[in-house]
């Protein structure tokens, strides 16, 4: 990437791998379980969280020298809440169906630990541009896991991907075939197990993560 320096590139790529907010830091798991039944809401959620993380990082980073230390959490909350409301309104305006599916979980982005974590850990001590990249990177790391989980859950739980049916109707038991969708995939426990499996795969591939 010619546009970015090596240090800046790391800000984006690290959260995808060694510092992934979900699989390594185990943050934001709650929403990852709730919105990953299908791919479409998962993707919208991923984009929303990325946008909120990136822009709240920028805003807090710009304000970082003026925020009194003792009230910094409440300031962060106000910024995040404002951004979440904007995202919510945009979703309602342009993708109303998905917005209805995501229901309360858009509002709950405010409580997503990843965002508060990045604000506390990064934006309060860095300039706006790196903060923006850090927000994008962490949002993408979060979104990546969401999308992987959602793809598996939609294929096996609903037999489709992006709402397009993958399995011929004649295969289903109801139509005289042999196949049935896995109802367990739609339930939240399976998302947790999927996350566990992803963490397992990642840990067995990257030795740095073992033995901490």
């Amino acid at each position: 990437m010619g546009l970015l320096s090596t240090k800046d590139t790391k800000l984006i790529t690290n959260p995808m791998n060694l510092e992934n907010p979900i699989t390594v830091q185990v943050l934001g798991v709650c929403s990852a379980l709730a919105v990953t039944v299908k791919l479409e809401p998962a993707l919208v959620m991923a984009i929303s969280v990325t946008a909120v993380t990136a822009f709240s990082n920028v805003i807090i980073s710009m304000l970082r020298n003026t925020i009194p230390n003792r009230i910094r959490i409440i300031v962060q909350l106000v910024v995040v809440a404002a951004l979440v409301i904007i995202v919510d309104q945009i979703l309602k305006a342009f993708v109303y169906d998905v917005s209805k599916q995501l229901s309360v979980f858009v509002g709950l982005i405010i409580t997503n630990c990843i965002i508060m974590g990045r604000l506390e850990a990064f934006a309060l001590g860095n300039k706006p541009w790196p903060s923006f990249l850090d927000g994008v990177g962490n949002g993408a790391g979060y979104g990546m896991i969401l999308i992987i989980v959602a793809i598996v859950r939609e294929i096996f739980g609903s037999g489709s991907i992006w709402g397009i049916s993958l399995i011929p109707q004649s295969w289903y038991i109801a139509n005289g075939g042999f196949y049935a969708n896995n109802g367990f995939m739609i339930l939240p426990p399976m998302a947790l197990i999927m996350l566990g499996v992803i963490i397992w795969v990642q840990r067995s591939r990257t030795k740095e993560l073992i033995g901490k």
């Binding site: 038991i173 109802g183 367990f184 197990i193 397992w200």
Partner: protein
């Protein structure tokens, strides 16, 4: 037997280090120890005699104890198949039909589970542990006979990986793998695991059916408040009722229980406590009664005869790995299983049977129970020690 020993000794060098099939050593070992206890039970030096009752032989005894329930289950499957069709059939015909339906379940269950286990052993390079010997036999006995085979295979693979291997293999699992396999099927494919169409062989796609035949299990009837449709107590005890393959006959399971108790493989405390737990809540429900829930009036002892209660109590709750380990803990563990089963059966209309969920839940709580029992013991002794020093 000598000939087998000789043959094994002959091919053994191939599996040693540097041999032709070095990679398969663990597989070879597992088959060898299946036939012979590895090493001497009475070493030439010293006075120690080792117990030949190792893990593998313990497992073999449990499988042996399951045989009566399995054989009865096979006959019962055939019996209900012909009953559903309204045709007369001889004992052998019924048994053969059942055997043809049940044997594939067993083969698939073992193939999927053991295959997964062997794969993990191969990757990790440790020794094969034979935990799946029992699980593979349990699974076909606790599913409806009409469940598609690929579902059983998938459930077993899931149970072995998620229930056992991620925790470190045999002996490390928190929940019973066979029950986890069933729970997976139950939540993943509810249409094939519950309702009144799945319990009788061939009922789902049957074109003709005898008049007045119903494939609903007694528990489903009871949960629906349909108390006139209950079988006689004798039928419940012998097991001529629809249900999962091996769970219907309390008599056959009692034979298995006798084998387990005589050899000391299973804990009588857990079995007794589970029975006491179910009876006490059952009696309480009988005493309270209810206008709207006819299930509450069902005599408490019938809870012991119906559904998976007997099977779960004898073969699942007593699993030495997942049950409580302390002696007092076993009483608490078993008692709570009994209580929760009756609670789920009677008060939750969505689940007519609660044995699976009750045992899984208590499996999770077993370490906690043990922890507090041990802690209580320590505190008691500390107190005693203090009194004496004064």
């Amino acid at each position: 037997m000598k000939a087998i020993r000789k043959y094994i000794d002959k091919i053994k060098p191939n599996f040693e280090k540097g041999g032709k099939y070095e990679k398969w050593k663990s597989t070879f070992d597992s088959f060898e120890t299946f036939l012979y206890v590895l090493g001497d039970t009475a070493p030439s030096k010293g006075a120690h005699i080792r117990d030949a009752m190792d893990l593998k032989r313990t497992m073999s005894i449990v499988v042996l104890a399951l045989i009566p329930a399995l054989l009865f289950g096979m006959w019962n499957v055939g019996h209900f198949h012909y009953l559903m069709l309204g045709e007369q059939a001889t004992f052998m015909q019924e048994f053969l039909h059942g055997a043809i339906r049940v044997l594939p379940l067993i083969v698939v269950s073992y193939a999927a589970g053991l295959g997964t286990e062997f794969l993990f052993v191969y990757i990790k390079g440790h020794e094969i542990e034979e935990g799946f010997l029992v699980s593979g036999m349990l699974v076909p006995l606790i599913v409806p006979v009409d469940v598609p085979l690929w579902m059983v295979a998938l459930a077993n693979i899931f149970a072995v990986i998620i229930g056992k291997e991620v925790f470190g293999g045999t002996g490390m699992n928190i929940v019973n793998p066979a029950l986890l396999s069933r729970a997976f099927l139950f939540f993943a494919y509810p249409a094939q695991m519950s309702g009144d169409k799945v319990w009788v062989s061939g009922l789902g796609g049957a074109e003709k059916m005898a008049d007045g035949f119903s494939g609903a299990t007694p528990l489903a009837n009871a949960a629906a408040g349909n108390m006139q449709a209950m079988p006689t107590v004798w039928d419940m005890f012998i097991g001529t009722i629809p249900g999962s393959v091996g769970e219907t006959s309390t008599l056959a399971i009692l034979i298995g229980a006798a084998i387990l108790l005589y050899t000391g493989v299973a804990s009588w405390k857990i079995m007794a406590a589970t029975v006491v737990g179910a009876l006490s809540l059952g009696l309480l429900f009988n005493a309270v009664g209810s206008e709207s829930n006819a299930f509450m009036q069902m005599p408490a002892y019938q809870h012991l005869l119906l559904g998976g209660f007997a099977f779960g109590t004898v073969f699942m709750a007593t699993d030495p790995v997942t049950a409580a380990q302390t002696e007092r803990g076993k009483w608490i563990y078993g008692f709570l299983i009994g209580v929760i089963v009756v609670l789920i059966r009677v008060l939750n209309p969505a689940y007519p049977e609660g044995m699976m969920l009750a045992i899984l839940l208590m499996n999770v709580f077993a370490p906690l129970i043990d922890y507090y029992v041990v802690k209580g013991n320590i505190n008691k002794r500390l107190k005693r020690a203090k009194v004496q020093t004064k």
